[in-house]
């Protein structure tokens, strides 16, 4: 009986420990690489257009540097685009990053368990929504 209990406990540890370790993988403790997948762009008149990241002048991939509090992407020519992170917080297993740039207020919300990412930015009578995913850098 003891042998069975020991074996079961061992197996449970094998399964649960990595899951627990992974649960907080996207909590801001490590840098992330994020991919922008689908986007939606809406205007005040109520019309929306969907597309890919490039259609809203967003790079396909960007990095989140939590130490430097910066989101940055590199162009093919080596030049860089970046946005400073003003606020970083956690809520219900989600990492929330917020900032302001060139009249647009934006927020990046990352599921700390799955890495799923949602970006919302608005201003000038229009709004952008970007869906994507992040992984550890």
């Amino acid at each position: 009986m003891r042998l069975v209990m020991t074996t079961f406990g061992f197996l449970a540890a094998i399964v649960l420990v990595p899951a627990a370790a992974l649960a907080g993988a996207y909590d801001g403790s490590s840098g992330l690489i994020c991919a922008s997948l689908d986007t939606a762009h809406c205007v005040a008149e109520g019309e929306c257009a969907t597309g890919r990241a490039a259609s809203v002048n967003l790079p396909q991939f960007f990095k989140i540097d939590f130490e430097a509090k910066t989101i940055r992407a590199e162009r093919p020519d080596g030049s860089e685009r970046s946005s400073p992170i003003e606020i970083m917080s956690h809520d219900q297993d989600h990492l929330v990053l917020q900032g302001v740039q060139e009249g647009l207020g934006w927020s990046v919300v990352i599921d700390e368990t799955t890495g799923h990412m949602t970006i919302a930015a608005s201003g000038h009578g229009e709004a952008f929504i970007v869906f994507g995913a992040c992984t550890l850098d």
Partner: protein, 207 residues
């Protein structure tokens, strides 16, 4: 076309009157044929002489045996009178049609890239910006390069409005050109009516 259009007229009573005026009441079948060919030639010459073919949609027959010189004079005078009455000159139908032809292509037709936006005309206008921006190329890339902004560098409303304004301007141009074309068609109809009235008063059969 001219010959087929004249065929009924050659069988009409007016031909007989024409023949009578020439003192040829017993014209044989060959003579009738000759007259028809002459009339067809006249219509063809008229059609070829005046540049706007549509203005010559009228079939004009010298019902009183007017000679060619008289016909030319009458036709010219009736043309001048009709232009004066209607304000429409078929030899200069309009800068309007040229204006319609000169409407530039809609903004955005030259912007093929991007292409994933939806939503009709506005979507097309917006797509121009998206297309330009796609792939870090063109204007979009230039904007990004200028600002270096990432999330704040997403497409800006002033660019979108500029594209929308271009689309609206184009739509307005197309509508204006269409209205001018319709007005031009109406002027041509009035001109033809005036020509018919004038020529019939001078002893021509017009249809």
């Amino acid at each position: 076309m001219a010959a087929s259009g004249l065929r009924p007229a050659c069988r009409s009573e007016k031909i007989k009157r024409w023949d009578k005026a020439r003192g040829n009441t017993n014209m044989d079948r060959k003579g009738v044929l000759r007259g028809c060919l002459g009339a067809a030639f006249f219509v063809a010459v008229c059609a070829a002489a005046a540049p706007p073919v549509r203005a010559q949609e009228l079939f004009i027959y010298p019902a009183q045996g007017q000679n060619e010189e008289q016909q030319s004079r009458d036709r010219f005078e009736c043309h001048s009178w009709s232009v004066q009455q209607t304000g429409f000159d078929p030899s200069n139908p309009g800068s309007q049609q040229q204006a319609a032809a000169n409407v530039p292509p809609p903004p955005g037709q030259e912007a093929p890239k991007g292409g994933l936006l939806q939503g009709g005309a506005r979507g097309a206008a917006v797509g121009v910006v998206g297309g330009a921006i796609a792939g870090n190329a063109g204007k979009g890339a230039a904007i990004g390069a200028a600002t270096g902004a990432l999330l704040g560098g997403m497409r800006r409303s002033d660019q979108r409005r500029q594209q929308e304004q271009q689309q609206k301007n184009y739509d307005a141009q197309v509508r204006a050109a269409e209205a001018q074309q319709q007005a031009s068609a109406g002027g041509r109809q009035s001109y033809n009516r005036a020509m018919t009235a004038c020529l019939e008063a001078r002893g021509y059969s017009v249809s």
